[in-house]
Structure formats: C-alpha cells, structure tokens
C-alpha cells in the first residue's frame, strides 16, 4: 500500500493540490479531500472496463483493434494527407503534450485550437481589448471581503472553489473566514451557489451587458434614468455599485453564464472595464472560472510558442489567428478541414450539431482515456494514460499558477502518455523511423 499526499486533482481549473491518494496493487483504493467529481475521476482510473485499452482503426466501417504501431502509422497518414487538418482538444492533458501538439500543428500546417474556443474564448477576446485585472487565488483568500460570482455556479462546476479560495477559508487579513466576507451571486437562475450567497441578484437572460453598463455608469458618477435595468431595480444597482466601491478588496469571478450567452466577449469586455473603473475607488480584481484543469495551460503554451492563445492556423508556415475564422467550430461549420486529431476532449458531445456533421464526414483520430461519443465516430482511436494520475506533467490553474502533476499509479499495460503518442505521430509525419514498437510506458 502506498499513500501519496499533495496530489493534484486533474479535473477542473481549481487544480486542488492537497489530495491524498492510497494505492494498492496499482489500484486507487482511497481518495481524500477531493470533491465528488475529482474522487470519481481518481477512482474511475481503476475501472479498466470503462477505459480505452487497445488502439483501434476503422476498417470497412467498423473500429477494429490493431497494434499501436499500426494506429500511429494510420494517424500519421491521415494527417499527412490532409490539406487542412484540425488539431483540437488539449485541455485535459499536460503542457508537455501541448508543446508537442504545437510542433505537430506547425509541421502539418494545420489549425490548432483547444476547448477555450467553447468556454472562455470570449474572455480571451475581451482581454485583447480590455486587459485583465486579476490576481492569484491566494490573494482572494487572504484579502477579499467582497466576492461576486457572475454567471458562474462553482457549487457545480468547481466544487471546492468556495472552500479553498473564496468564501470559506481563513486568510491573513480575513481571520474569521466567511464572517469577514460577503458573497453576491448574479445569475439568471437561483443556482446552488446563489442559495448560499448573502445576496442573489437575478438578471434577465441576455441582459447582463446592460446591467454592467448601468453599474459602470453609476460607479463613474453618472445617474441612472431607468427604473430598472435587466430586471434589477435602480436602487439595487446603486446599492451594488456602492458596495463594490466600498469593498477593501473585491473580486468578480465570472463563468460561462457571461461568455456563452448573448453578448459573449462584450459582456466580459464590459465587466473587465467595470473592474478597471472600480480601481479608481478601491482594489478590485476579476477572474475567469476556467473549466478544464489545464485549459489555461494550453493558452499559455500556445502564446509563448506561437504568440496567440488559441485558434491558430499554421497553414502558411507561421501563426495566423482570428477567432471567428480560425476557431474549431467555424472551421468545421464552413467545411474547411479535411482531417482532424482530437485529443483529451469530446467535441461530439459538446459541439453543436452543425459542427459535428462535418467532423463525422472527415477522417479523424481520437486520443482519449475512455470511450466517448467522439471515439465512437473516430477512424483511429488511441488509448492514453491519465495525466495527473498515471503520468507527470505541468498544468496551469485558473489563475495561471503552474503546478506539477503527480503520478500515483502505472497506466494500463501498453498504454502510453499523450506526449509519447504525439511524439510518435510527429516522428512518422516527418518520415522518421518508427520509434521502438515496444510500448515504452510513460514515465
């Protein structure tokens, strides 16, 4: 029996690093401190019945088991033959895998994009225009006295966010924890997070932008003419603006309630500017509630390697970026890509039908840890080891703090890490000798 402490949970962007895991005979038998989802992820790694274990290639319409070398060879062939391959996913694997992925995209002259495109892509667009006035989560824990979640429901999406970083923990300047803080939730529904808030403000669907504009006008000394904006009475807006201005350290966490709804990136642009306005009065910061545990890491790697955070087209040998043109859903819906590699993501479950109709039509490779609707439609399926459980690597928390993922157990026999699989595909694309056929199990 082996007990591991300080293990990092590779589920969501909260990236809790205090997990204890007990392993017996290469099986995780106990998980402490993790949330329901994190625990499920650790324990599910044992469940080989629900894991992908063998590489598969579609032959005569059916996926059949093949050797790893054959799967790699076929994957390389599909990608090499393509004129505009799309390399998508990435958010649930390590930065080391991202790094090889960027090199592969460059080599292929393909388009590389990650799930940012369907979560905080709009936030990135807003950052381009407005900037990003933020902090690390420890700052929130130590200093924040006013915490706002807007269009975010961490009780479901980031179950330990509240207890580790925002409302509940005791901090250096907030010794009494929750008693020293106030929680406000702004949403279209009274979510489970809203239920524990000191105040819930219900905004009409699709009118967040108007509410932010009204708040900014008040914060900047203007008068509000309307009786109510976005379903929120004027007095309440003025009171909220006052509360924000009078906080010692305020934080606005926002989620997909703002990025995916009407207004998209402009909701965030306006929200960042609200926070900027508040800095003329007090200390205020804003933070995106990033979903996948390493969605942020991909943005970091691609930015330092290619200059842009997501949705990069290497077609002409250099990076070209313009979301709306180079983003996965647009490339798919316009029917531009003629092959794809999907890794650590399940777009068939999570992309709109119009995008998947094209994906289903083109040859594509799926690399994942377990079967998904995406692997169901893929032409090559390559099982991979779980980063953060079976493989080490780097991941970036939602506040861009980088942590080293740990390894607590061996992957299933013959199953390689994403890094190793990608390296082999890259080598074959380059026409280099096939790496040793013997599965070199990921370190």
């Amino acid at each position: 029996m082996q007990r591991y402490t300080d293990v990092i949970c590779s589920f969501c962007g909260t990236l809790c690093d205090d997990i204890e895991v007990v392993v017996e005979d290469n099986k995780i038998v106990d998980v402490k401190h993790a949330c329901r989802i994190g625990t499920a992820k650790f324990l599910a790694s044992n469940d080989y019945e629900h894991r992908l274990l063998k590489p598969m290639v579609r032959k005569n319409g059916k996926l059949v088991e093949v050797s790893l070398d054959e799967a790699i060879e076929e994957a390389a062939r599909i990608l090499k033959d393509a004129t505009k391959p799309l390399l998508y996913g990435w958010s649930s694997t390590s930065c080391e895998a991202h790094s090889v992925g960027v090199e592969l995209a460059e080599e292929l002259g393909g388009v590389i994009d990650n799930t940012t495109t369907v979560c905080h892509g709009p936030s990135v667009l807003a950052i381009h225009d407005a900037g990003y006035i933020s902090c690390t989560l420890g700052e929130v824990k130590n200093r924040a006295d006013l915490i706002i979640y807007w269009g975010a429901n961490p009780m479901h999406g980031h179950p330990r966010h509240l207890s580790r970083y925002s409302i509940f923990p005791r901090g250096y300047f907030r010794e009494r924890g929750q008693q020293d803080r106030e929680l406000i939730v702004i949403d279209v529904r009274k979510t489970d997070t809203a239920k524990i808030a000191n105040k819930f403000i219900k905004v009409n669907y699709g009118e967040d932008y108007e509410l932010i504009s009204a708040l900014r006008k008040v914060v900047n000394g203007g008068e509000l003419r309307e009786e109510s904006v976005a379903g929120v009475p004027r007095e309440e807006i003025i009171a909220l603006a006052e509360k924000m201005k009078n906080a010692q350290f305020g934080v606005l966490f926002f989620g997909m309630g703002l990025t995916q709804s009407y207004g998209r990136h402009r909701n965030i642009d306006n929200a960042i500017n609200l926070v900027r306005d508040l800095n003329a009065h007090t200390k205020f910061v804003i933070m995106a509630m990033r979903g996948h545990y390493n969605v942020t890491g991909f943005n970091e790697v691609l930015s330092w390697q290619a200059g842009f955070p997501y949705a990069v087209d290497f077609g002409r040998g250099y990076a070209w970026y313009n979301p709306g043109e180079t983003t996965a859903n647009d490339v798919l819906q316009r029917g531009e890509c003629d092959a794809a590699l999907i890794i650590a993501s399940d777009p068939v479950s999570h992309f709109p039908r119009k995008s998947i109709e094209h994906l289903a039509r083109i040859p594509f490779i799926a690399i994942d840890i377990h079967p998904t609707p995406t692997t169901q439609l893929a032409d090559v399926v390559i099982p991979s080891a779980i980063a953060g459980i079976e493989v080490e690597g780097t991941a970036y928390r939602m506040d861009a703090v980088p942590l080293r993922l740990r390894k607590v157990k061996e992957p299933p026999e013959g199953v390689l890490s994403d890094v190793e699989i990608l390296r082999r595909i890259l080598a074959r694309v380059r026409g280099e000798e096939a790496l040793t056929a013997k599965a070199e199990v990921a370190k």
């Binding site: 004129t83 108007e210 900047n220 203007g222 402009r266 500017n273 043109e325 890509c337």
Partner: protein, 262 residues
Amino acid sequence: MKEVVLTPKEQPSYGLIAECISCDVFAGKSIDEIKALPVYYGNKQGELGDFFEISGEVASSAEEQRIVIAGDVPKTRWIGKEMSAGEIVVKGSAEMYVGAWMRGGKIIVEGNVGAFSGMLMQGGELYVKGNAGDYLGCSYRGEWRGMRGGTIIVEGNAGMEVGQNLNGGRIFVKGSVESFAGVRMKKGLLVVGSATDRVGAQMVGGTIVVLGNVLRLLPSFDPAGEVENPSVADESFEGVFNKYTGDHAERHAKGVLYVRKE
C-alpha cells in the same frame, strides 16, 4: 483604365487566400505573371491561374488598373488587401477580409462580403451591393487603433460589431445591423438604416446616425434633446432626430448618437 478579368473556376473548400488580387500587385505584370501569383489554401500554395481563368489588359500603374471577378467567389478571402489605387469589381459574392488594410482605390462587390471586410481600412472605398458579414470595417483583435480612413457603403444589411474600434473614415449601412454597431468607437462616422441593440457600446467619440429604428438603447446613453436635420462633417441627415451622448459607462465619453424620430 485597363481591365483584367478573373473568371472563377472551382473554389477550394479550405478557403482561398488570394491577397494578390489587388491592382497594386497586378499593375506592370504580364498575364502569365498574374496567373503565376501565389495563392494559399490550407497548407498548400497554388497559383492564381489554378482558380481563375485570367485574361485582359494589364496597366502599368495601379491607378489605371481595373480587375473584374466575373462571378461568385464564396471561398476567396483577402481580395484587395492593402490596395492603394485602381478598381476591383466582384460580380458576385466574396468571402472574408475584402479590402482589409485598403489605402486607396475602389472595390465594388455586387453580391455579399464575408466577415472582417474593410478591416483596418485607411482610405479608398468599399462598396457592397448585397450584405456584409460581421465585423464590417473592424479593427484586428486587440488593436485599439481601428479603421482610420476611407468609406464603406453597404446597400443591404451587416452583422455584428460594424465599425468596431472605428478611428476615422465613414461607414454607411443602408439596411439593418446586428448588435454592437460602433462598439469602442473613437472617431469617424457610422450611419445605419436600423439597429437592434447595444449601438455605440463603449464608444468614447465619433458619431453614429440611425436612420430608422433602434430596438433598444443602452442605459448608459443620455438623451440630449432633438435635432432637426443634423449634419456631421459634410454629411447632413434629413428629419428630426433624438440626440444621445455616450457611452457614459466610459468616463469622459464624447460619442454622439442620433436616432431618427418615427
């Protein structure tokens, strides 16, 4: 003017980057040289002649050059990029980025244009008989110094964020526009037939004129009375307009919005 005619053959599904379709590039070349100009699709490089039948007369200077695209080019991008003089006529619809970074001359599109057309224009005229996509006359992502000169005229409708970060020049959309027309506008003139909502969002300067309806105004715009036949620069607009200032979400905003009274 001398005219070169490009008759489209089959368009690639990948999107065709044809920034060489510009009077500046064509002028002074032979037809064979024009046929051999590079175009890009996916990870491949091809020649303009692979996708167009090319004939006609080449001028010695851009000013004297006219290019006619004799049909729909729904996958062709970047027509007239950085063009400084001459005329391009598209007898059909084109895709994204028509007239991006254009500095002079004229582009006429008889059909529709895709998103990001007129991006960061500095001069010249882009005339669209059909509709325009999103981000007409926009800036590039993150660039706060947007379109700063020239004129865009669209007879039909346009999409989201017309004139985003507009920093000079004029945009006229005779039909309707989607949300966020004139978002983050700083200078210049934007005239639209009608608008849905969030007109002038985060604008700090410049003028927007709506000749018809606005579905909903932002709460951060303030009424500033009625104006009859307002004129902006050398353009005047007939009728009685409600004048608003904004966007007062921004400090020191000096944007002006006119909406014609019904």
